[in-house]
Point group: C2
Chain length 147, copies 2
């Protein structure tokens, strides 16, 4: 069965909500291959004391481990918030076919640094704004709860 982008973004949002419950910045990611979710992850920086434990990094590592491959050229990565520079770099190396993200991130999103040049593999497509309001609201609720 073919699901739409909103369906998969909702799965990423469920991951983000798990992060929220664990007192982590609420960002979630999933990786889809041939309509099957092969990796789910959420931010675990606090839990692991690891600044590299972002949802996208964990999802890419997990998907590659599952496939036994270092590239994901036929996979789609859904992430609730615009990837940071580190995660954009990881996406470049993974060669994923498509990145679909929810809300933009003016402060830490990759586009702040890369401007009009793309940091991704030339074949990687980018789609943004899928369920962005729900994705951003979760972030706002989290940071509001921290004040």
């Amino acid at each position: 069965m073919q699901w739409d982008d909103e369906y998969y973004m909702q799965q990423a949002l469920n991951q983000a909500q798990m992060a929220f419950q664990n007192n982590e910045v609420p960002i979630g990611a999933i990786i889809v291959l041939e309509n099957k979710i092969i990796a789910k992850a959420h931010n675990q920086v606090e839990q692991f004391h690891d600044p590299t434990a972002h949802a996208e990094i964990i999802a890419i590592t997990s998907a590659c481990n599952y496939l036994g491959a270092k590239y994901l050229p036929e996979a789609k990565l859904y992430v609730t918030i615009e990837p940071c520079l580190m995660c954009a770099g990881a996406i470049y190396w993974s060669k994923v076919q498509e990145v679909i993200y929810g809300g933009s991130d003016i402060k830490n999103g990759y586009s702040k640094h890369t401007g009009n040049t793309s940091p991704f593999h030339p074949k990687t497509r980018i789609k943004k704004g899928i369920m962005d309001e729900a994705c951003i609201k979760l972030m706002q609720d989290f940071f509001r709860s921290k004040r």
Copy 2:
């Protein structure tokens, strides 16, 4: 005892040589805190089938795990080759005090994307060119052996 940059870069180069022997792109990194090496790592992308398994990422994860802390504001990271965009992003999040790298990387170095703006934390200092000839020669030897 206080060692100099060349001493620590040689340790990073030793890691890069281990990568070479394992048929990995020969890049090595170490992290130093108060003149003590707290993490050593080399590229393990092929071994783990993981495009995120760069020397710097593994070294940061390892150092943070050792300290039980998600920031490394008093640590120095030595890496044989200019970090890529992913690793520059990881360095940003880790807030390391200083990054010392050997050879520049025109093709995959972070500065290709970020131009004149720094992707690092404002307090992070950057030093480059330490033992750059030896660091670059190892890369050249590796890619020559692949042709």
